[in-house]
């Protein structure tokens, strides 16, 4: 039996707003087998970043985790006191963010920001922390690590900053690395380098949760994919399977949109309509308004996430019935 680094079950995050409560993450379950890259894909506001935050225990007020469990190597995290969780962050689970430009403290030398993480979790001396930092800088291929150590963030390019952030996340050899849109702010040529780096970390035994809107990125590095829409997981499958035979109408629409653009179709495929406002979600399936074929049942009943083949589950009443068209 394979070992799962991370298991999330029924995770729900709730936001109290002036106009009512919304759930940007609603009953999300996912697993990350050890040494694999698992992707979560979806469009803006679908709750993928919030899921990452919830796993890290970094949901900001007024958001709150209202249900579900998160286990890391079999250890329950949601019930841990903040002090214990803090010790895990950066040591066993770490995270890199989307914006390398603003995710580093502008008035602190980058080397010291990485060394800070080392000292925090190992309690080693300044010199040792420096040595470890330089070692990880070399590992993530930062040129001239000694010189870069004393640079301020604004003196580095976007790609280098993202490398520093990865170094900071990887320096304590975490079990799980969460990468939230790590390449969105970068140019394609730099993006390819960063993805390569993530794969190398995976090969070194780190499990990676990769969050992205870019199907190309997902296809290139992920082993297993979860598709999110309006706070819920609508489909999950192995990367090969999901690209080969997507079943949920949203996934299909998404994949077709991308494919038609790549193949240079005369008119591009689109998904009609816009992403629904989380405050005014329909009682049933949240994709209702944009779905090309929905039976009356979808209006009042949320479809369950049902397995259509081993390792492939879809949240749609029609899935598996009409087959992949």
């Amino acid at each position: 039996m394979e070992h799962n680094t991370l298991e999330v079950r029924g995770l729900t995050v709730c936001f109290q707003t002036a106009k009512g409560a919304v759930r940007p993450v609603d009953d999300v379950s996912l697993k990350i087998p050890q040494g694999s890259i698992v992707g979560v894909v979806g469009e803006s506001g679908c709750g993928k970043s919030m899921t990452a935050r919830a796993v890290m225990g970094l949901v900001r007020s007024p958001g709150k985790i209202t249900g579900g469990s998160v286990t890391l190597d079999g250890r329950e995290l949601t019930s841990l006191p903040e002090k214990e969780r803090r010790k895990l962050r950066g040591a066993e689970i770490s995270m890199i963010f989307q914006e390398p430009m603003s995710s580093l403290n502008p008035v602190m030398k980058v080397g010291r920001q990485v060394a800070e993480a080392v000292r925090l979790h190992t309690g080693c001396s300044r010199a040792e922390a420096r040595a470890k930092t330089l070692a990880i800088f070399r590992e993530v291929e930062i040129p001239e690590p000694e010189a870069r150590y004393d640079c301020y963030p604004h003196e580095l390019s976007g790609g280098l900053r993202q490398r520093v952030l990865i170094a900071m996340a990887a320096v304590c050899r975490p079990k799980l690395l969460i990468a939230d849109e790590p390449t969105t702010a970068l140019d394609v040529t730099v993006e390819a380098q960063i993805l390569k780096l993530l794969e190398r970390l995976r090969d070194a035994g780190v499990s990676v949760l990769l969050i992205s809107h870019d199907l190309g990125v997902i296809a290139r590095v992920c082993d297993y994919v979860y598709v999110m829409y309006a706070g819920r997981i609508v489909e999950q499958a192995g990367t090969g399977v999901i690209f080969d035979r997507p079943q949920h109408p949203y996934t299909r629409g998404l994949f077709r949109s991308v494919a038609s653009l790549r193949e240079g179709a005369e008119t591009l495929e689109t998904i009609p309509g816009v992403v629904p406002n989380l405050l005014r979600l329909p009682a049933g399936c949240s994709f209702l308004m944009r779905c090309p074929s929905c039976p009356a049942r979808c209006e009042n009943e949320i479809p369950p996430l049902a397995e259509t083949e081993p390792g492939h589950a879809v949240r749609c009443f029609l899935a598996g019935k009409e087959g992949a068209t």
Binding site: A18, G47, S49, P62, I211
Partner: protein, 304 residues
């Protein structure tokens, strides 16, 4: 140069969830939101309205005459007849306070308005035109701001002489520079904003850009500045009057009442502390209101 790949992706979208869901609001919605969320601002507003009403209705509210001397009851402490006691001329302190409110409020509002007009006109010109106009206006503002405000007010009052009109003028000259600076930086920000560039691409003439795009977007800032300038003017005037340099009798502002009451600080402290408390309350109310407006209208502006 815009970065090649600037997506508003989920990270920020999630964090902005709340405001996004509320859909950005128009002015009156914002006012309503402030009324709902910020009790202090509402109370302050009510207090200000009450003070204005009371000062206008003073002749109805009090049986005493503003300048009615009663030498039999000089410096009498607060009692049932005289809720806040009487002054050295036996005049009812509360009555004088109510009439004084007219002067003090006027001194708050008029210079705030004048400096707002002067400052925002100069600020927009400096910000939008740039070049020489900008340099001249801003150096003039620098010179004004180099003076501690009391000092500048004293020097101007010295050369103009006392009297309420001169107080208006003085306070306007003291406050304009601050307004000009804020409006200028706001104008600069708006000028480089994409929607102004868009208007320019469309071919909208400069004057119309200033009128239709820049000025309306400055309005929230101006409203906040106006609200916060009122208490500043009241405070400066009261300090001037305290030194005997502001309003001249028989006009009585609260500051002047404190000035005359000061001689009796140890024998009749209410003569100082009653108008003092009045000043503090009204200034506090304006500040609370101003901060409330700032919170809902211009959350980014707070930093500077």
């Amino acid at each position: 140069m815009p970065p090649g790949k600037r997506r508003k992706t989920e990270e920020t979208a999630d964090l902005r969830l709340q405001s996004q869901l509320c859909e950005e609001e128009r002015f009156w919605d914002l006012m309503r939101r402030m009324a709902r969320e910020n009790r202090t601002a509402v109370l302050s507003f009510i207090l200000i309205v009450l003070v204005v009403l009371a000062s206008l209705l003073a002749p109805v509210l009090t049986p005493y005459d503003e300048n009615g001397m009663d030498l039999m009851h000089r410096l009498s402490p607060p009692s049932q007849d005289h809720l806040l006691g009487t002054d050295e001329g036996g005049r009812d302190e509360l009555t004088r306070l109510l009439y004084g409110a007219r002067v003090s409020l006027l001194i708050g509002v008029v210079p705030a308005l004048l400096s707002l007009i002067l400052g925002s006109a100069l600020g927009v010109i400096a910000g939008y035109r740039g070049g020489l106009a900008d340099a001249v206006i801003m150096r003039a503002a620098d010179v004004t701001l180099a003076f501690p405000s009391m000092l500048l007010a004293m020097v101007i009052m010295y050369s103009l002489g006392g009297g309420i009109v001169n107080v208006f003028l003085t306070l306007t000259l003291v406050n304009w520079a601050n307004v000009a600076r804020v409006v200028r930086s706001r104008t600069l920000a708006l000028k480089s904003s994409e929607f102004v560039e868009a208007a320019r691409v469309i071919g909208v003439p400069e004057g119309r850009i200033m009128r239709r795009h820049i000025l309306p977007n400055c309005l929230p800032t101006l409203l906040v500045l106006f609200t916060l300038n009122i208490p500043a003017s009241i405070l400066t005037e009261s300090s001037l009057s305290f030194l005997g340099l502001g309003i001249q009798p028989p006009n009585a502002s609260w500051g002047l009442m404190i000035n005359t009451g000061r001689q009796y600080l140890y024998s009749a402290p209410w003569l100082c502390f009653a108008p003092g408390a009045a000043i503090m309350l009204i200034v506090l109310a304006f500040n609370f209101l101003g901060n409330g407006l700032l919170d809902v209208l211009d959350p980014r502006q707070r930093k500077q």
